[in-house]
Symmetry: none
DNA sequence: ACTTGTCAAGTAGATTGCTACATAGGTAGA
DNA sequence: TCTACCTATGTAGCAATCTACTTGACAAGT
């Protein structure tokens, strides 16, 4: 049976919040998040499936032609939805270290 | 042996007053009060049983169907009785910090 | 003495995290 | 060609944690 999307004010786990923050900071596919966070694939990929199920992120596969040109497997790119952004905001208040762990572009350059 | 309900003008402990104030502010079940006050479960639940015994609050269990739909244990919802409201009024005079600790909806938005 | 507060533990189902493994094409060395 | 490693995504199964309420034993308060 289909499951209701998680309301955007819901509290995220630290891992889920970390992944959202990483996406927001420009690490926009699973493997890059694995590398930069050190989290194992068995943590990252299921967590991202849940985030997508809850409509906090949305995915689209890279075109095969690009993957071919770069001679590697195709990537699955993610980005935050509007709900994802508001949830990330709330998570930053809940986990004050988030932004120190993974500074966003703006936080780094401005 | 059955005990007489506590008369509504009786002085409440700080904890009991805090719980009444939290209920009034919309934290309407035990676990939410635990989280928002930081009080341990062994403080909150027995205190709420005493408040109910003294007829300052009244409880009703959430329907199992709702708990099932949200996939979590059923909650026991509480609300203030008339006696509870007058006692809370008295407690606010007695503990002036109560309303600063847990602002009610009205106090926040107006 | 009696009431109240706290710790510790328990229950039970749901969710989340992690290890280990699987897949599959690309690269590079022996 | 055979082996080994790299990029990239994925899953099964188990352990741990979360949600929510409850209780017994004991300390502290009044």
């Amino acid at each position: 049976m289909a499951r209701e999307p998680r309301p955007s004010e819901t509290k995220l786990s630290h891992t889920a919040a970390l992944i959202l923050q990483a996406l927001d900071a420009g690490f926009v596919y699973g493997f890059s998040i694995m590398e930069m966070t050190g989290l194992p694939s068995g943590t990252v990929y299921p967590a991202m499936r849940r985030l997508e199920r809850d409509e906090l992120i949305r995915s689209n596969w890279e075109k095969q032609s690009i993957a071919d040109a770069e001679q590697r497997p195709p990537r699955k790119y993610y980005k935050l939805t509007a709900a994802g952004k508001t949830t990330l905001e709330a998570s930053r208040r809940r986990y004050p270290l988030l932004e120190r762990l993974i500074p966003t572009e703006e936080a780094r350059t401005v």
